[in-house]
């Protein structure tokens, strides 16, 4: 039924779409064997496009996870506006027909043998491999921290999952009720959705103001380096907003340990360790490549992206320079930016179109410019639609939406528009 509905709608509208449509993308008749490691946003979007654009290829998806989480919605769960059910779906509902799903995790990558080995011991050979495993939240890298503590002892963390985001919402509400010092921040590692720690800070401030409790709170944002955001104009704007809302900022503070019982957090700073008391803390864990990737030959061997095991990739094509039949997409890709669903939306067509061109005997020409997007929620009902590329240049999609202005229309996109776009992306339609 779903398929018929889509086909009917697409047929009706196709006549008005002159060109450039995903539905009209080029195809390849190559009988390649393609393995996709990971069924997150990137993996499912890849599977949908490859199935449609390479109808004679064998497409195999490997992932043990059955649930699918709309992670951009975790902030809204933490704001108490959405429920965990609003961000929880099933991978099976997005699996394209004709794609084989091996419901196991990848245990080992063997790019020299052009195969991966699953946790069940199955060796799966490939002609082309797409690494889309996502990343690992390394809570234990913060001494004293454990994901099980989320929602307890004044500890929040929206990244761990829908239930933990909801527990964080309750922790924020309790903090606003009792008052005290709230600490926010981000890790020094590469991370997904680098705007989320700022959003949680803004949301806490806004909820406290709405309840007339802002005076009872002291909010402190601990930036990991000398900026609150990597893109200079965004840094300037957020800094000004923080100042206007009485949110203090400590620069070059990296969380290294917490003592949940004593409610004390220790930060590494250029001047040595600093310990701060808190009543509430939003912990954002360091993020790393999963062990199967880190222990393989795929990661960068030197440079800043080597430390946490991100897959080596040419940043314009996401192709592995040492293993040209390997591509990495999404959070795991070792490129300077791009750990957001918005990045995936732009990365997937590039790698798929290039593979199709190559297998059809044409020259691959598509490039990814590092596009990423962060609808930065600055209050409930207001957001800044920030989009930028590898160079940190702002690249607004809509000429009528000022990227550094707090707008309800940007909130509308965040609250109503993103989920539909994300789902369409999973089906290879956006």
């Amino acid at each position: 039924m779903e398929r018929r509905v889509f086909l009917a709608g697409a047929a009706a509208l196709a006549a008005s779409a002159a060109s450039g449509s995903a539905a009209l993308a080029q195809t390849s008749d190559a009988r390649a064997r393609i393995v996709i490691a990971g069924a997150g946003a990137a993996g499912l979007a890849l599977a949908a496009r490859l199935r449609r654009q390479m109808p004679k290829a064998t497409v195999i998806l490997i992932d043990a996870k059955k649930e699918h989480h709309f992670q951009p919605g975790f902030t809204l769960v933490a704001a108490g506006l959405w429920s965990p059910a609003d961000v929880t779906e099933r991978n099976a509902d997005y699996l394209p027909r004709g794609v084989e799903w091996i419901e196991q995790a990848v245990a080992e990558f063997d790019p020299d043998g052009k195969a991966v080995v699953t946790t069940g011991g199955q060796r799966v050979a490939y002609d082309f491999l797409f690494v889309a495993t996502g990343l690992m939240l390394d809570y234990r890298a913060v001494a004293g921290m454990d994901a099980a503590l989320i929602g307890k002892e004044g500890i929040a963390s929206i990244y761990a999952g829908p239930a933990q985001a909801a527990a964080s919402a309750a922790a924020i509400d309790r903090f606003i009720e009792t008052g005290g010092v709230g600490l926010f921040g981000r890790p020094a590692s590469e991370m997904k959705c680098a705007g989320a720690p700022l959003k949680v800070t803004f949301v806490t401030d806004d909820k406290a103001r709405r309840r007339g409790r802002r005076g009872a709170l002291k909010l402190v944002y601990n930036a990991h380096n000398p900026a609150v955001f990597a893109v200079p104009p965004v840094h300037d704007k957020v800094k000004a907003l923080f100042a206007g809302r009485d949110i203090a900022v400590n620069y070059s503070h990296v969380l290294k340990a917490i003592d949940p019982g004593a409610k004390r957090a220790t930060y590494a700073t250029p001047a040595g360790d600093v310990t701060l008391d808190y009543d509430f803390i939003h912990v954002v864990p360091p993020m790393r490549a999963p062990d199967a990737v880190r222990n393989s030959p795929l990661p960068w061997r030197e440079g800043p992206l080597a430390v946490d095991g991100w897959v080596e990739a040419e940043k314009a094509t996401l192709r592995h320079p040492r293993y040209p039949e390997v591509f990495s997409v999404g959070d795991i890709a070792g490129v300077p930016r791009g750990k957001t669903a918005a990045s995936v939306k732009w990365q997937v067509p590039v790698v798929v179109d290039n593979l199709i061109a190559e297998t059809a005997g044409r020259t691959p020409r598509q490039t990814y410019n590092g596009y990423t997007s962060c609808p930065m929620v600055t209050a409930i009902g207001k957001a800044m639609l920030i989009e930028f590329d590898y160079d940190g240049k702002l690249t607004p999609s809509f000429p009528f939406i000022a990227p550094l202005e707090e707008l309800w229309v940007s909130w509308l996109i965040e609250e109503k528009g993103l989920k539909g776009t994300y789902r369409a992306m999973l089906r290879g339609r956006a």
Partner: protein, 122 residues
């Protein structure tokens, strides 16, 4: 923005609204048919559509204002205080036109029916 071609937009709308999108399209078709029937009825009765149109425009304007102030902000989990820039009001009004158009269409059909009936009775 060039990425948002009609086909992509259709799929995004479908994924956003699901079955509601088809209900809305169905409702729009029913209302359009109702308006066409009302206009034909007025023609047969030899009555101009001015009064039903005026009533529909007046009620539609009020409905637009009410929907802009209450329904649209509430639908996005906020209140009218979130609107700050001209673009916010513009987009909110455009969204408010959807329920307002439904109300205006119903008012037009009812007024046209009454007009035509009065003429027939007279």
């Amino acid at each position: 923005m060039s990425d948002f071609n009609p086909v992509t937009l259709f799929f995004i709308l479908h994924e956003t609204f699901g079955a509601w999108l088809w209900l809305l399209i169905g409702l729009a078709l029913v209302l359009a048919a109702g308006i066409a029937v009302s206009v034909m009825r007025l023609r047969r009765a030899g009555r101009p559509p001015l009064r039903p149109m005026t009533a529909a425009l007046m009620i539609g304007t009020v409905a637009t204002a009410l929907a802009t102030a209450f329904i649209v902000p509430r639908w996005t989990l906020t209140d009218i205080g979130a609107f700050g820039a001209a673009i916010d009001y513009l987009v909110a009004v455009l969204l408010a036109l959807i329920p307002a158009a439904v109300v205006a269409s119903l008012v037009f059909m009812m007024a046209a029916r009454r007009c035509a009936s009065r003429h027939a009775a007279g």
